[in-house]
Symmetry: C2
Subunit: 406 residues, 2 copies
């Protein structure tokens, strides 16, 4: 008898009809002789609705009370799924985070799981029950309800799988797995049967919104194989796993793109020590995440500095940058939100030089101008004009022969 | 420094606007130097919405999972009220039933509070916080969430007041207190400054929907004075208290009426032992509460039996009674939902004979025919035609001079 931990996201439990669908899927796993622990997110828009109510109070959305409020969403979907399963003859019990022994620190809104006390879950499983656990939440040492922040339910599932030493950890989403590129852009994009943790992390961070980076990190730290698959179909998904077979893998595993990009340039920045610190500290204090940074070659003791930020942060960045231009004595600045980031990701890159050059060549062959470049050990990213994104992704997918079978 | 326990019902927290209103009220109590523990119900229709979702699953609404689901409503309103108070500069913390130490038995959907562990509440109060407690819920010995059934939040408040040895227990509702009769019927109905537990129990059960009978019982058992007052006005309400000054009270304290009444008559029931048992056992098994029963004088070894039930139960009762008529060999039956119950209530009745006769006289003077009569030590109730209810209530209110000051 295998033990499966399965996580279903908000879109999979958005209505009672959808809850019935996934209940059938869970029952099938049970009927095949598995023990099943399920982690659920809140129904569809529940969390957004609760946030709107909280905003209307005028109160502080960052503290303990917010977690108290938001944690109810997952408790509701867990109870509704348990009701549905029991009605199908599949005995089930729902547990809140604290009942399931999900212990966390006290950092409200983005708590980290510190440990899982699996006693209650194991007792219920041994009692023949399917256990439905409210994701996204835990309990602090002081007995207060915490939430785990963005991607919290994915993280709950991976941590519970680790705590239970589960045989399988399944993350059900509305996509069929991790693809070599976005299938909406590249018709012959191929679903990867497996992907290394590090690759998945880069893909996840770069905008392939399949699984939250935090949960991937948690899986990597605990060495848990995680399968991402579609809750509406019965096809196998993509297994996120350790890098043991990295050398057998292709140099490039996938192409990612991200439209949530904007570019800021500051002209004629005096070349003085501490200027960069002043600039990026001010942005950080404004809650603005800077991604890539380029400083041009010096000219008359002045530099041009360009950087990218999330496009959603542009309105926050504008006043900060305008203020800075005056403060540091730069000649001016420009903002551009018509850019995008395309990236190639592959664990094999580390031992295969020349991959970046191949990427630049593929883009040049399509007359695509590169604004900025950044690299990591297993990734190369380029900022390009937004309107050329599709062309670039197609060209890169072809260049690295990603539609061919592994 | 006094300790106040204040309960606000669903209509008082139905919107953020209303929550802001009661938050101001709570802040005023704090500013006057009191410690305050607040018990809240779920916002407006939340509970109904959750029940509708649960029904859609097709699952069993009577078990553990239902309590898991419903308890979220009070957790939400408690968190929203705490957010609002903190935003007004009144430090507050919300607690679920289990966090507040509300221990109950394991009877899901209608659990009874077994004990209150006041440690957490007291610690928060001593820490200068206003404590907002989710009403209607507790935790079972096994660590499962329970709900307390109808009137649960009132009972939570009274039990917490008892546990904390609070100086005052305030139940805020949408009425101004307990009146000598329904002010919508009797323009000169008077708000009672106090009422005995037993009287309130009879009034509550008889349809003066001010406070749940269960909560009144809990107050009586724990000898807690409870004040019922309006959440929208600043007037004093009615104090429900022990009967020490009963003898000083009027013989009749109030007139209650209840439209949720229907009458069933079964004709020519053979006068055999066990017939009544057969009849009323079948009704009980059908989940139908029988209120008054009359058996007419025997005629040819046959009786007519009439009884009243809640009007909402009439559709359930119909098939049961029709079946019974055949089974016991009665000649037929009749159903009437155009009846109502009017009652006079007063603790002084016990030592003042002739009160019932005064009631019958008042009704007779108005040509109101009495279908059925039932009495308790401190109450006389009559079933009359529904259309005569207003006339009857007015006549009784006048007969016992209830508009005159105590």
């Amino acid at each position: 008898m295998s033990l499966i931990v399965a996580k279903f996201g908000g879109s999979s439990v958005a209505s009672i009809e959808k809850i019935k669908n996934i209940a059938q899927r869970i029952k099938d796993m049970r009927d095949q002789g598995n023990n099943v622990a399920v982690v659920v997110s809140a129904m569809g828009d529940t969390t957004d609705d609760l946030i709107a109510l909280a905003k209307a109070t005028g109160g502080d959305l960052s503290g303990r009370e917010m977690d108290m409020l938001l944690a109810t969403g997952e408790q509701q979907s867990a109870a509704l799924l348990a009701l549905t399963l029991k009605n199908m003859g599949c005995d089930a019990v729902s547990l809140t985070g604290w009942q399931a022994g999900i212990m966390s620190d006290s950092t409200y809104n983005k708590a980290k799981i510190s440990d899982i006390d699996t006693n209650r879950i194991m007792a219920e499983l041994n009692n023949g029950k399917t256990v439905i656990i409210a994701g996204f939440q835990g309990i602090s040492p002081g007995g207060d309800i915490t939430t785990l922040g963005r991607g919290g339910s994915d993280t709950s599932a991976v941590a519970i799988a680790a705590g239970l030493k589960a045989d399988r950890c399944l993350i059900f989403t509305d996509v069929e797995g991790v693809f070599t590129a976005d299938p909406r852009i590249v018709p012959d994009a191929r679903k990867l049967s497996s992907i290394a943790y590090e690759e998945m992390l880069e893909m996840a961070i770069l905008g392939a919104a399949v699984m939250q980076p935090r949960a991937v990190e948690c899986a990597m730290q605990n060495n848990i194989d995680v399968e991402v698959l579609c809750s509406f179909k019965n096809n196998p998904g993509t297994i996120i796993t350790e890098v043991s077979n990295m050398e057998k893998q292709k140099v490039v595993s996938g192409v990612a793109h991200d439209y949530n990009c904007a570019k800021v340039a500051i002209f004629d920045v005096p070349d003085q020590p501490g200027i960069a610190k002043t600039l990026f500290k001010a942005l950080a204090e404004g809650g603005i995440n800077v991604d890539m940074v380029i400083q041009s070659a010096m000219r008359n003791n002045h530099n041009d500095i360009a950087f990218t930020i999330e496009r959603d942060d542009l309105s926050k960045a504008l006043p900060v940058v305008n203020e800075l231009v005056k403060k540091i004595g730069a000649s001016g600045c420009s903002f551009g939100d018509k850019v995008a980031k395309v990236s190639i990701v592959g664990a094999g890159m580390q031992t295969n030089p020349g991959v970046a050059a191949d990427m630049f060549e593929a883009l040049a062959d399509e007359d695509i101008n590169i604004h900025m470049i950044s690299t990591s050990e297993i990734r190369v990213s380029c900022i390009i004009d937004e309107e050329l994104t599709q062309k670039a992704v197609l060209a890169l997918h072809k260049k690295f022969a990603l539609s061919e079978l592994e």
